[in-house]
């Protein structure tokens, strides 16, 4: 057991819990505080927190493993650039209107937008999908905690999973969105600097960028080039999946509701996009190349980061890197857990089971949901064995296939109606599942079929049925109208 590294990890856990209990009182003020952090988050904090929300175990361990095995060009194009452009498209087309929606309607979940814009059936289907997809996403994340804990700290896989599961559930439960946001700020810094820092360390260690890449390409000739073993459809499918996930995943959308105002929300997304680009391009370039040199025959590619940092970092930085890996796990799982609780309590419990529920009752139920999903996912993670990158990649695509089209159409197309919204959500998801299990296209290319089907369902369903009511059209208009008064010109 490595005591210094373990001490740093324990200190990181204590800091997470301190932040949660610090915000406990503020989070208890009501739903706006618990779900939306009172819409008080500035662009810098929100930008780093958004970056942290995106960079999960998938990015920190799984996709880095794909860079090791399949080449840096794939991960650069598919994850780095696609997530960057996805955030910018979100900033341009989604963030402003949804931030206004939250203020006008007092809602904090993406499916609440579906309920108001389309109908409650569309929102119910979307909520059920979130409650299926997100816990399935959390399981491999926690499995990453077990892998990292057992390899780096020398503790049992199961104990590492339980330890991380316990801490992240507690800080989400106690502090809600405020706690999630401020822990994500810390986690975002940790992840960014320890990935980019390890890459720079590797470049320095191997005598510069050219010698490093020369040795890496000697091991894997396709490290920098486009890998001919990978189908063109896979390249395009992963990229489109990441793009649509960033644009429309409910746990990322929830963050947009927390910004102080529309412009701060937009600025935060620009910051996130820039951080994501540098993280995936520069970070992956050095770390995956160093792993090829240090361990050319690595079979468990999810350990790419761990192998390199174990070799190149001092014990202190190893402890910090370990905290960064756990941060990658906890930030995404925390945000997803909160999104699950918001979906269930607001769009199922309050809409169908107890419409007269008070804010306090709803939050109490949400905390129960957080506890139940947290425990279940932790137990399931103990028995998970598949590659993190593959599972996360598929869930990313399933989410994008279901939500991207109804979200964009709901904001920008006044003719989109409830039938189109319902068909688009269900059609996109069902097609994704059918295409995946029928193996008609390569893995990760499913979204190339399911997304156009979702769009076709939206168009056909909307045009063949009656237009939306005047109130719905007026809602769309109000999303694009600046709420604040016109500022006088500076002279």
């Amino acid at each position: 057991m490595r005591l210094l590294e373990l001490s740093i990890v324990v200190a990181y856990f204590i800091l997470c819990l301190y932040i949660a209990f610090y915000f406990r009182k503020s989070a208890g003020r009501g739903e706006a505080a618990y779900w939306g952090a009172d819409r008080s988050i500035g662009f810098f904090v929100n930008g780093v927190a958004l970056f942290s929300t995106l960079v999960s175990t998938g990015s920190f361990l799984g996709f880095l493993g794909l860079a090791y095995r399949l080449g840096w060009s794939l991960t650069t194009v598919a994850f780095g650039v696609s997530s960057c452009v996805g955030f910018i498209i979100s900033m341009l087309l989604v963030s402003g209107p949804l931030r206004r929606f939250s203020e006008i309607k007092g809602k904090f979940a993406m499916t609440s937008f579906f309920a108001e814009r389309y109908n409650s059936a569309t929102a119910l289907v979307a909520s059920i999908l979130v409650l299926i997809l997100f816990p399935a996403y959390i399981v491999p994340e926690l499995m990453g905690a077990g892998l990292a804990g057992s390899y780096m700290l020398g503790i049992d896989f199961r104990y590492a999973v339980i330890m991380v599961g316990g801490v992240y559930v507690l800080y989400v439960l106690v502090g809600g969105m405020l706690s999630v946001t401020w822990t994500e700020l810390m986690q975002g810094f940790l992840k960014f600097f320890l990935m980019v820092g390890l890459s720079i360390t590797a470049i320095y260690h191997f005598g510069g960028i050219s010698p490093l890449l020369k040795q890496a390409t000697a091991v894997n000739p396709h490290y920098l080039t486009l890998n001919p073993k990978i189908s063109l459809w896979t390249y395009m499918g992963i990229s489109l999946g990441v793009f649509m996930f960033v644009l429309s995943s409910p746990h990322i959308i929830m963050r947009l509701f927390t910004s102080k105002n529309v412009n701060q929300g937009r600025a935060s997304l620009s910051l996130t996009a820039g951080m994501s680009l540098v993280f995936h391009l520069l970070g992956y370039l050095g770390v995956a190349a160093a792993a090829l040199i240090i361990s050319p025959k690595l079979t468990e590619v999810d350990k790419t980061y761990i192998v390199v940092m174990d070799q190149l970092f001092s014990p202190f930085f190893r402890g910090m890197a370990m905290a960064a890996i756990l941060a990658a796990i906890m930030s995404t799982t925390g945000a997803m857990l909160l999104a699950c609780a918001a979906e269930f309590s607001n769009n199922i419990y309050r809409r169908y089971l107890n419409p007269k529920a008070s804010e306090a009752q709803t939050i109490r139920l949400a905390k129960t949901v957080i506890g139940v999903i947290g425990v279940l996912t932790t137990i399931l993670a103990l028995f998970q064995t598949k590659s993190i990158g593959v599972i996360v990649g598929l869930l990313v695509e399933g989410t994008g296939s279901s939500f991207a089209v109804p979200l964009l159409a709901g904001i920008w197309w006044k003719r989109a109606n409830a039938v189109g919204g319902f068909l688009s959500v269900t059609g996109g998801f069902v097609t994704f599942v059918i295409v995946h299990f029928s193996n008609v296209v390569p893995t990760f290319a499913e979204i190339l079929i399911s997304l156009p089907v979702s769009a076709a369902c939206m168009v056909v369903g909307s045009l063949l049925t009656s237009p939306p009511s005047r109130e719905k059209v007026e809602l769309v208009t109000s999303l694009h109208r600046s709420i604040s008064p016109i500022q006088p010109e500076q002279t």
Binding site: S73, T76, V77, G80, V81, S82, C84, V85, I88, I89, M91, L92, L93, G96, L213, T217, L224, T225, L226, L232, Y235, M236, S239, F243, V262, N263, R266, A267, L269, S270, A273, G274, L277, L281, W412, K414, V476, T477, H480, R481, S482, S484, I486
Partner: protein
Amino acid sequence: MQKDSLSKKNPSLCLGVVLIVLWALGYTGLATSLGSLEFVGIPLVTWTMIAIGVFSVIASIIMIPIQSRWEQRWGTEHRNVRGD
């Protein structure tokens, strides 16, 4: 009625469409002979995609005040059109 259009000269929508088209065009490079061209050992397609990413971040920062002004102006015009 024309002023009621959400898409009329909307700067964010214009930039968004341009970026999506550029991003999609970058992928067409993968399917053509451009996919085999390289610069310092890295495919031109990869360089192109990186350039699109950098451009999108810079353009988005410039776009924030421009879009804000458009929304204020559009909001005022829209209220006038509806006779609010």
